[in-house]
Symmetry: C2
């Protein structure tokens, strides 16, 4: 029921996911979902949920007050082992609250985080769950991000960098200086030191950790830079003399646009709970939903939660 | 004497600037500079400075201990009215310290800031002078950034946005929430509310204000995104089938690269002191130095400091 185009677009995404071999349970209002399934001649099990949490609701309160909301019911399916993962294009705050309070945090995790996997293969977290963090949270993010890099980017022993404004250990605010030391001292983290925003274009670190405010700015500013450059490219090649060559390169442009598209990525990963939780963008098309289901399935199949849990245990001891 | 290629490259940049009509005084070691000028058959006045502050020096201490350092001598020329502006490719910290302590802050300015003007025309500050800020500093940055947008981007009454992680006034950390209110209440600022990183691709705000940590991450991550996209474009068009069209578009690519280059920008603006101060990148080529001198001249000619001062006065009263 979540997202700008629910439930039809979400259903269409789920249908595409079935073709990928995923096992999907749709969670939401049966009376709205079933006619749409019938129209499409497809059978997908539906877990009924009579309520919806929207973006205006206070998330923490909503998951208590709306016990039959689709996000709450979906989280309960994961909690009860009836589902291996949860995907939502609904309110990020509500997904976080439901996952944290209903599915529950992993032992040793004091803050769940939201991670984004870049088209470059870099894992960045936190990108918005915790706007202020303590140094020990950043260590947990490092461990959880490394598990994501292992599963989704297929990197053994991923390197971790701390997002900062310079390389030296003394750079940054108190939180970065303290986190630097903790990360350096942690045997569970393959720490390579401070990295900078420009390292999104280098292989210096596979995983980049930061607080949720800075990470969110990082995420959106790289996205903004991508759009600005795309606009500049269009302006620059708009001359008639270039038209033939632009046409000739169109397949390459489309391939690149696909590679950079948020649709292709599918969603962000909420990590630190006892379930696999994927947060899709509110504006997700069916293709984004399909990809979100794909990465949720991949996370469940590859034992993402077990890997994170093992990492946290190693970091704590 | 500052920067990776000093003094030869800086001298060559100054020679290019002479062709633009700039009046240049070179500040540094006469015995090293004069033979290079002679070799080139050019006469440029030299203000002798026997010492150099390097990147390893503690900036605040260095400007006290090395009273004959080129950065200190250059700042004194501005202070004494013998120069209208100062350009340095040396240590950013030393330039800041020299400008703040020797040239002096403008009345009402409690923190000088470093501003970057993007190829998109957006003015962003602070990008690194103050890693932690109070709400009132962000108001001062708003006023100073607006003066820069007026002078360099030729915008009347520029709009100002507060860099945040969402549009609502309640978003962000304590500093953003308090700054939002101050900016909203300030008659001296044309405040349009919160903006996000992706607004570097929109016209929502001409000036974007934030603390120096976040601004530095913003600056470097957009730079990194630009590089990453450039790499992806190169990979994508590397197929032989595209070669002819790539060659055909080469002039457009070069034009775009030029537009996006830090060399073209010339340098960042240290604002809030009683002088025009431009900080060029340490790796500046002669062309970057020429552009840095061009923007310094432009700032001096257009009364940048007077405009900033008037804005601060309006904001304080």
């Amino acid at each position: 029921m979540g997202g700008d185009h629910a439930p039809a677009e979400v259903i269409d995404g789920a249908i595409l996911a079935l073709e990928d071999g995923a096992h999907v349970i749709l969670v939401g209002d049966q009376e709205r979902i079933e006619p749409l399934l019938e129209e499409r001649g497809v059978e997908i099990p539906v877990a009924h949920a009579s309520q919806v949490i929207d973006f205006h609701d206070d998330a923490a309160r909503a998951i208590r007050d709306k016990r039959d909301a689709s996000i709450v019911v979906a989280a309960r399916l994961v909690k009860d082992g009836e589902a291996d993962a949860m995907v939502s294009a609904g309110s990020t705050g509500a997904v976080m609250a439901a996952a944290t309070f209903l599915i529950g945090r992993l032992p040793g995790v004091t803050r769940a985080g939201i991670a984004s996997i870049y088209p470059t293969g870099h894992v960045i977290l936190d990108v918005g769950a915790n706007i202020e963090c303590k140094p020990e949270h950043l260590v947990q993010f490092a461990v959880m991000g490394a598990a994501l890099a292992t599963v989704y980017v297929h990197i053994d022993n991923p390197t971790v960098g701390l997002l900062n404004i310079g390389e030296e250990p003394t750079k940054g605010r108190d939180v970065e200086r303290a986190a630097y030391q903790l990360l350096m001292d942690s045997a569970a983290v393959n720490f390579v030191g401070n990295v900078e925003g420009r390292d999104i274009a280098t292989k210096k670190a596979d995983v980049i950790v930061t607080d949720g405010f800075t990470g969110n700015v990082f995420l959106k500013s790289t996205e903004g830079a991508g759009k600005a450059i795309q606009q500049m490219i269009m302006e620059t090649v708009a001359q008639p003399a270039y038209a033939e060559h632009v046409a000739g390169l169109m397949p390459a442009f489309l391939e690149l646009r696909e590679r950079l598209s948020a649709e292709t990525v599918g969603g962000a990963h909420l990590v630190g709970t006892q379930g696999v939780v994927v947060i899709a963008h509110g504006s997700s098309s069916r293709f984004a939903i399909r990809n979100a289901i794909r990465i949720a399935t991949e996370g469940a199949d590859s034992g993402l939660v077990r890997k994170i849990s093992a990492g946290i245990e190693a970091a704590v001891h």
